[in-house]
Symmetry: D4
């Protein structure tokens, strides 16, 4: 509610066009709903198909099913991450069209109109063991309305394979680099690309990897600029940030 709208409301009250109680009702919700706080509900309603997200880890299967049901009731697409197969089975019992990715551990229940893909998101990773995180990013970025391409056969220990993918790099608006072990891939890619690079350290590794700490520190300390880092194994978060960027680039529809 802008200042002008507020003035109109008050004028309406003054001239008897609006009852005090009605005005009260509208003003009561003012502090947050009209000030843009209720971002999720309002803005998202404008962008049809933008998903609601459920992080399944730490929730019981029953809790997840209940939340998914509530959210789908709003005719909104729902994305559930970190979902074990048994969670999917339970969700599918309710929503038979739920889509599961074993690798990404994601469930998607599409509702409403699906958005036209617009932004170009490239998801790169080096090792086979990083794929679950990379695929979580892929599924998320797609559900959020992006064209997504995968580039999974690269790694700094065989840098020539990376150099072969320069066209893919140029295609992207945003590049997500998923890497475990020492996580050096993000630096090398950011040195080759001008686009924003989102680095996702993974917990893949052992010993002095300390469950992803090594890759995390590598990425935070990159001597290449243009890199933003998200939490270890947070493929979803990387794709959400990528989508926040592509939304700006191609406009929010």
């Amino acid at each position: 509610m802008t200042k002008d709208e507020l003035r109109v409301l008050l004028e309406d009250v003054r001239h008897g066009r609006l009852e005090v109680d009605a005005a009260l009702d509208r003003l009561k919700t003012l502090p947050y709903e009209d000030l843009g706080f209720a971002k999720v509900d309002h803005h998202r309603a404008l962008r049809k198909g933008f998903p609601e997200v459920v992080f399944c880890q730490g929730k019981t299967t029953d809790q997840v099913v209940e939340i998914v049901q509530r959210l789908c009731g709003n005719n909104r697409t729902v994305l559930a991450t970190r979902a074990a197969r048994e969670v999917y089975e339970a969700v599918r019992a309710v929503f038979s069209d739920a889509v599961y990715s074993e690798l990404a551990r994601t469930i998607v229940v599409y509702r409403g109109e699906r958005p036209q893909p617009k932004g170009n998101v490239l998801v790169m990773s080096a090792g086979t063991a990083d794929l679950p995180v990379a695929e979580e990013a892929v599924v998320t970025a797609e559900v959020m309305g992006n064209h997504v391409r995968r580039c999974y056969d690269v790694g700094v220990a065989g840098i020539h394979r990376l150099l072969d993918k320069l066209d893919l790099i140029q295609w992207a608006h945003v590049i997500i680099v998923v890497a475990g072990m020492e996580g050096a891939l993000a630096s090398v890619v950011a040195g080759l690309a001008e686009q924003p690079v989102i680095a996702v350290p993974t917990s893949v590794g052992y010993g002095a990897n300390f469950h992803g700490l090594a890759a995390l520190l590598t990425m935070l300390n990159s001597c290449a600029s243009g890199i933003g880092v998200v939490n270890i194994d947070n493929g979803f978060g990387a794709a959400a940030l990528a989508s926040a960027i592509t939304r700006m680039i191609v406009g929010p529809e």
Copy 2:
């Protein structure tokens, strides 16, 4: 060098239009120059005024001056970060038009045509002690061709001050949040905003802050999505990432 250009070259050799040695010379530089590796030189040359950057920490004053001289020789704007006042004095002795920010510890020597500011970058911070990092981000974002606004009087312990700045938040294409202590500001801002948020933890604090580790972990673990994190105190890096994003949004000129 595209495949077609390569074919032309070979045809020229075949028909004697190009000497073997001349062809050799051109092919010798093929592996990296023509494959787009030389990103900096080529692309940057197209965008006049995009700066070269010198990170002064760990370099002697003499080394910095020498590097700045070399870079300015290419008619390129130079940005030096983490520059103590004595470094600035030495640079100014050579480039009398060098601009110094005491707070940001930056030196800028403008050369060539200055770019038209295009992207909108909002730099937010909470505490007075975070200002050096915030200002480093401001100077960098400006030199890289963005409109920059500051929003320095906010903090989660007085959240009403933040709610007053919603218009500023809506203005921005990208928001940089600079925060020390517990670093919670990034989460709150990302909860209010749809734009990409770049979080910069600072080393401001004491005790269990562990020189910025507390704020870093807070930002990496944010329950709000759309946040990319850079290294502790890395105001430059945040602005470089912001510029990589706005460059995509508004086009590279």
Copy 3:
């Protein structure tokens, strides 16, 4: 009391200059037994219904049952925390009126007179996965004689939901904030409230959360004042501290 003074006292007793009871009174304050060390027994006996506590983790089911039996023999209410369901089954076999909370993992066996609830304790948390810790705090605070209210649907990434709960905040004498992930909720609540805030980091999260370290550091570094922090996942400890405070506020009965 020096050795000489003690001798004089005994001589006085011997010669009838001092009554046995008077001597007893003076000796009663000799260190340890009469100096209040036996706090638990003495003071607690005065406040009927104040619970004895058994921390089950690391104890065998047999050990827990034996300890509960011994404590209940004193006609005292017993609270067992971190109790798995099988521990509860074993306790119920002995005390059929034992009350179990699956979520909080607590067993309560009420004995003696139950105290009149007096202090007002508000338990806030953000995520579904934090509920076990929050509920441990709820059960503990109730057993220790407090009115308890829950406020579980708040989080800094949707700050408007928090602002809706200001009346709850004003009701409380003490506020317990249970938060995992980045743990920023404590700062925001302490910025809104004047009451003491007890912050409980939880181990909910992954990656750079490091099993609750992120939330712990956030809370310790809060820029808001009036926050005391307890151990990660220590819902019991938060409620015990809250009860120590409300006991002072409303008087120890």
Copy 4:
């Protein structure tokens, strides 16, 4: 602004008793000022003499002086912590009645009516080197309107000295325990006392103390209940929490 006050305002507009613009002005500030967000201004104004606080570390002397001047202009007492002597000299040049504690590194400029001390706060510490932190707590607690007593000659390595102070412990509403090295004092005191204990680890120590980490962990892991922990060396924070508690106990005036 309560719902009733809002209704009155609207009625006034309706009946022409209040101009639209005037109503607009009042409503404009509604979201935060009238919802209790502006806690500091409103509530504090009721309790005369409650201090404003300036954390000097990381601020220049000029910045501190400017902030103190602004705050004192509101006729409010100002407490500056972590203030070096030169900062004090600069403040005294403006406010000749500023009071400095060399040991606590605090400056106090009293303004307005001083509050009647009400709550009883006991500050305990073990070692000479912990005194700066303990004294910061003492000064803060006094300025915030508490009776404060010191108990500095205790330590777990000579536990008999502690047992001699049981009367002091019984006097207190809240006990602040300041301890470096291994920080075990908090556990022992909380085992003896029923009151809330606020534990302040200090960075006093060396080697495997890791700048206060040892004492911090000890306090967080205490097997005694009723302990809330604040940041390392945060004497101010402990006293602020203690004051939040005593304010509840004795009423906010």
Copy 5:
């Protein structure tokens, strides 16, 4: 082999009482066997019944049985630590007189003459969950020839229970303090006792305990003197050190 023995050997060679080859054989083993390197074999042979030790963790059941068999073949008592019940079953199949402690996870197979207990070792601990470590110390100290007493019902949160045990403390030559959580017991005991105190942090605890790190740091930073610390959960190591001390005190038999 002492210098004198060496001289005798050479004289024997010189006078033909010893063949060169025989001398060679004896000298060949000189560097380590006769220079005291072979400490275990030589010295231990003097003290009948001193045990050989097998650390079972990380070894297969077969490996443990094989090692125990080999060692017992030398008519030496064998102590196996960190032994699961199935390991014991396998050992008992070979040595039917093997003694198992479920709590301490130790197996003892007595061989040869058992030593007369001499040193007095007191093992103290606070919590039920610390008992496995404490009992490992008890069994080890007994097998190594000490009188051992337990004092398991003490803890700093109820310090009066500790003060009741002063006679036990005075009885001991060496005191082993086993403590998890915050580990403060070691400081308190060392403040009361003049004897050497060996502190064993345990991994009992949760959250910011970090698997025993908290107790470890507490013990290393103790403000009481006369404390030596061993590894987390290393009950065996504490008893071995205690035995090294009592061996000096009472003489090696």
Copy 6:
């Protein structure tokens, strides 16, 4: 492709001995294949039998089998590390001549000509629990064409056993020291030997070992020179580095 070869190619084009398209084809692969990037393929092809390596951890059994099949198709020996028995069973179903080491958790499928062992690699370790890592090094070093000897019965706590092995030490070109617990063996060996020492910390230990961190730090801080350290438990990496060294010593065939 050397400069000379490139000249020949161009001459061939010029004189019509090579078609433009054929030249194009060869040049297309130039940037990485001919510049030595494709190290694995080219160089390894020269040394028959040099293995391809599959790191099984984090890969499904199906993925491992598929990769092994693909690699063996090139008539190359394949070494799979961190392979559970079930992975071996699956591989053996395809390659009946696959060789499994239970202890080392390695699978080897020999193809092509086996290299003549040349370099001498000594693998030393102290404890039984370190054997899996040591054996991984042994198998790897053998497959990579080295003579390997084991020296497993040494440890700094019984240094005389080490001194007995000086001849083995002198035999080696490179020494791999595998050690858990405190990892001191590397320093002692490097103090005795002049050859390069490769130190492999293992995660064997408990408590303040922190999963191999203790041994890792010990090895990195060794006061003996000539030590290179690899990741915790990385027996493969140590042998690969040893092979890189022996390849230089004895020549690459």
Copy 7:
């Protein structure tokens, strides 16, 4: 002693059934003052010359001088550790016979009768940079009544130098091993010696030494038994523990 028992005792005194002295004897052991709490005063008074200790770090020069004066007033020898030269100068101005060790940073002011040295303490260290810590141990052990020998030219990287010192090792009752860098010396010495070994990690080193953490972890994880560890750089603590041991061995005079 219960209240009833106390009453009986007093009645017995009153009626002459118990002598005053006998009653006194029984009461003497009542907790705290007569139960040995006042350990320092009582026991130490018996052993003339046993020092009082002042830890100077974190204290001002004035504070140190004042404490030393107070302690010397009791005719007790005073040992001040971590004392800078200026502290010594100030102490010497008051006590002209104060003895300073530049290397150990210790001040000793002898008062009363000096004890006859009894226990044999060997202080070993490897590097020149460890000497301040080693000398602090030497001075402390001497002041506490031990014969002390130094063995400073040993290190595991040149193990033959250590083997030359076996006679010194055999002479000692207790061995203090001071080592920085990787700290492996403690393990090697404990492998050679049967006596208790007290290991002192020092902060000597750089990089991954982390200010002594590497040596600390090495020592805690030693595979040799019979080692107790004290805090990093805590030469005093090692000597105090050594003295607690030798006191037991040779009797407390």
Copy 8:
């Protein structure tokens, strides 16, 4: 002393050609001198010019000078590392031909015959701030008898510059990679090279670099094989390991 020599000695004793006392004297030194322990003295004497090394950090200038004097007295080349300029000045006062490298902080005093350079060592680094460490490696490797080449203008953020240096890489027997920040260069180089790579993390960086920890972890976790890591900033250690390798390759002269 070989077994044969020992036999000769005994025969000499038997036949009276050698006195018992003389034999005793020779045997007394047997344990270490003749067993090859005295590696430094014996072997080094064979290779003229191989340096003695003094690590200056933590030593006083006087101590360094004294040690250098003693070592040079043996006609041996001395290398002093971590030497401040004032240390050099003091050394030069005694040895006027001492050579100082300001950047590497090394002093070399050549004595005896200088070795013929044999091995080829390439020292690579990325940033200007890493040069002190890189140069320490260069000086050390040269003094130890290697040909050394520098390659300082490479970094993964501009990978094309690295690809230009493939000939240098091929020239080397061993490659030392010095890198701070995220330390990714080691992985990239090891991916391109077949030679052993020695990785030296440097403490260059800030924030989440944690004084070199980031680069250290990166290097330890490298997905490229053939990398050995040394301590942070340990340029000397890298060169010593490189020399141990080249000594094997080209033979020890």
